[in-house]
């Protein structure tokens, strides 16, 4: 007989249907069986009952952009440690970038990752595959075969697909198989050796700078190619007002375009670099306050579809270096929810709007059946207290890497329990 478990006395939040009401949710096996008020009566004695005492119960978070360092750099992150970090962060599905070693540009690597994810049995792991061989930006990968093997989109990871003709062919060919193409939006020939956003701070610090226009120039070029090819196109971690405006217009024009951003782009601005803090070294770089506000507005009006953690684990040796030598990126799986909830606590978005960017929206972009509370859907869930106040402590991260500029930051909203296919994979202690 299938195991049944009833989560009762919850605040059920489902951005897909718009439900935000107290009630119960019944799981049978790995699926949601029912939800609504007072399901407890007449269920019989075999049902395990968990009283949530009014905590929020929502679809598990769908994180559409993480870097796991397996294969190749398991000392920084592995499928296992990344899975633990995801579980602690309420993330039940994540999509890995192909920039491993070797890169995911071959079906064997896709199969390896799928097998490892099954063994580890934590958050569900999907992978993007490289759009070009070796992510070198020249020759197409076997997009059709990789997609058939489970790759859920095509991207050159933390590198832009720079060459216009190559990008045109990637879009056109991917469209043949109805595949999504994800771009790292920065024109490398304009960015040059730059590391931070051009402006007063870069000038004072004497760091090589990138004009923020490097983002919109790449996005606008790509949007023309999307118009030409009809391909589905997704812009990763948008961070500038100009690029958001371009995407807003493209959506109004009916182009098949979506985009995400990551918490640092709405929680921080370029001043976080301070005196050369390498934990604030990101690609794209942290932006001006005006751009940060534009990201918040893009999330508010729905131009930005999703929030992804952009989880980029690096060991100490990669960050305890002079600024120019340090690696780009920060870990984000375990802070995705509380940092996103700042948008709610600061009254920019409602709670259900914040969750929409973390669940159903990325699920729809990627064609996943998760991300919603519906009978028959996978029982991938997160239980959280939206108001619990705590401080981020990076040394308590389950991720093998602790590189984040948020240590000591006071936040509100904490994951209490994470459930994948009906199984509890994380439960907060104490």
């Amino acid at each position: 007989m299938t195991a049944r478990r009833l989560y009762r006395n919850a605040r059920l939040i489902d951005p897909d249907s718009g439900r935000d009401a107290s009630g119960d949710l019944l799981i049978e096996g790995d699926r949601i069986a029912a939800l609504g008020g007072n399901l407890g009566e007449g269920l019989g004695a075999d049902v395990e009952i968990v009283d949530l005492a009014g905590l929020c119960l929502a679809p598990g978070l769908v994180d559409m952009r993480v870097q796991l360092r397996e294969p190749g750099a398991e000392h920084m992150e592995s499928i296992e440690s990344g899975g633990q970090a995801a579980a602690a962060g309420g993330v039940t599905t994540m999509v890995a970038l192909p920039n491993t070693e070797p890169p995911v540009d071959d079906v064997s690597v896709v199969e390896f990752l799928a097998r490892r994810a099954r063994e580890v049995k934590l958050a569900k792991i999907h992978t993007y595959a490289a759009a070009t061989k070796g992510m070198k930006g020249r020759e197409l990968t076997e997009i059709g075969l990789l997609a058939a093997d489970g790759a859920v989109g095509f991207t050159d990871g933390v590198k832009a697909i720079a060459d216009a003709l190559v990008m045109r062919r990637v879009l056109a060919y991917a469209h043949t198989f109805d595949q999504l193409v994800i771009q790292h939006p920065e024109e490398p020939s304009l960015a040059g050796a730059g590391e931070v956003t051009e402006g007063e701070i870069a000038t004072r610090l004497g760091l090589p700078a990138i004009t923020p226009l490097a983002e919109v120039i790449m996005v606008e070029r790509d949007l023309r190619l999307v118009e030409l090819t009809g391909a589905r196109y997704h812009v990763a971690h948008v961070s500038t007002a100009a690029a958001i405006d371009a995407i807003r217009q493209a959506k109004a024009d009916g182009l098949p375009v979506s985009c995400d951003t990551a918490p640092p782009y709405f929680a921080l601005n370029e001043t976080a670099i301070g005196d050369y803090r390498t934990f604030a070294k990101l690609s794209p770089p942290l932006r001006s306050e005006a751009d940060r506000r534009a990201v918040v507005e893009g999330l508010r009006d729905g131009t930005i579809d999703a929030i992804a953690s952009d989880h980029a684990p690096w060991d100490q040796d990669s960050k305890r270096l002079p600024f120019s030598s340090a690696s780009y990126g920060i870990v984000g799986l375990e802070t995705l929810l509380p940092l996103s909830l700042e948008l709610y606590h600061n009254r920019h978005l409602t709670l259900i709007e914040v969750l929409r960017h973390l669940t159903i929206n990325p699920a729809r972009i990627l064609g996943f059946e998760v991300g919603r509370l519906r009978p028959g859907a996978p029982a991938d869930l997160v239980v959280f207290d939206p108001d619990a106040a705590w401080r981020i402590k990076t040394d308590e991260f389950r991720s093998k890497s602790k590189n984040a500029p948020f240590d000591g930051r006071p936040v509100e909203g904490r994951v209490e329990r994470t459930i994948v296919d009906g199984r509890t994979i994380f439960e907060r202690q104490g």
């Binding site: 007063e200 870069a202 000038t203 004072r204 760091l207 050369y276 002079p322 600024f323 120019s324 030598s325």
Partner: protein, 317 residues
């Protein structure tokens, strides 16, 4: 009145120094100029102290200047050319800092090609650190020696109009000088083609000019910057010929400044690129040789202030 004390453990930049700090260093340096002109140039003020010159980037003049300064104060001076030793073997900057620190130096003089690297190193050692140039960020002793040179010639810094000309984009000398001259009440201009100016440079307290005729009008001091050919990742100017034509200093352009305007250059000069030889060598107008002399005196002052009293492990102020 409270007695003045230099309340900084390191000298990482001009940014953060006050007017009294700068005047204190310059006053002390004045005395060292006189000492250095005597037959017996040596004092024992830093006897028993150890200075390590730690240069991650090639430099002959700055390293030599610190070496002479240290020796005149009686310190033991060790030169480490790091870029040819451990960094090549993969040792990180922090490892190098730890290694040096274990030798109990009293002061480390550090140059590094990356902005912020000297500060990072200073956080890992127990002794005083002097920034001898970090990437495109700061080179504080250069700005101090420039200030001493100007003050001795003009009697003051406040109210002077100073034009800093050339490759401001890559120049740590320009950033330190802009900061110092602003603190001391001078008016600062920068003059350069737009490709060699960083964004929002005016926010640092300068007036921006793109042609020498306007930029040099009525100035008291012309600071020419070295065109940092080694930092030019790409084409910032079409040719050195064109650069000299529009932005190089020669007598025609010098005429536009005040009749007693003085010329400075941090060296080493690219003759015929940013500055013509006849102007550079004009003993009435050029302060370039005096700058080198003042460099030793200013570095003696900085070494004494940072290490003279306490040596290693200074007590917290």
């Amino acid at each position: 009145m409270q007695e003045y004390a230099f309340a900084h453990r390191h000298l990482l930049g001009i940014d953060g120094l006050g007017r009294d700090d700068i005047e204190h260093i310059l006053d002390l340096a004045d005395g060292y100029v006189e000492l250095s002109r005597q037959a017996d140039k040596k004092t024992a003020r830093l006897r028993g102290r150890t200075l390590i010159n730690c240069f991650f980037e090639n430099s002959t003049r700055t390293r030599t200047s610190f070496e002479v300064a240290g020796k005149r104060l009686g310190a033991d001076v060790i030169n480490m050319a790091v870029e040819v030793s451990s960094m090549r073997k993969g040792e990180t900057l922090i490892d190098t800092a730890m290694t040096l620190n274990a030798m109990h130096p009293d002061v480390l003089v550090v140059r590094h090609p990356e902005s912020g690297a000297v500060q990072l190193l200073s956080e890992k050692v127990d002794c005083a650190v002097i920034n001898a140039g970090d990437g495109g960020h700061e080179h504080p002793t250069q700005a101090l020696l420039d200030a001493l040179t100007i003050r001795r010639r003009k009697g003051r810094l406040g109210g002077l109009v100073v034009a800093i000309c050339g490759d401001v984009l890559h120049s740590r000398v320009a950033r330190s000088n802009i900061a110092l001259l602003n603190v001391m009440g001078a008016r600062v201009r920068v003059v350069a083609p737009r490709t060699l100016l960083p964004a929002e440079i005016e926010r640092l307290g300068v007036e921006v000019f793109h042609d020498m005729a306007a930029g040099l009008r009525d100035v008291d001091i012309i600071m020419m910057l070295r065109l940092q050919l080694e930092r030019m990742h790409g084409s910032f100017i079409p040719s050195t010929r064109e650069y000299f034509h529009f932005f190089g200093l020669d007598y025609d352009k010098l005429k536009l400044a005040k009749s007693d305007a003085l010329i400075m250059h941090p060296g080493p000069m690219n003759r015929g690129v940013e500055i013509g030889s006849e102007v550079a060598d004009d003993i009435d107008r050029s302060l370039i040789r005096q700058q080198v002399e003042m460099g030793v005196a200013v570095r003696m002052a900085c070494l004494e202030i940072l290490t003279g009293e306490f040596g290693n492990n200074p007590p917290i102020q």
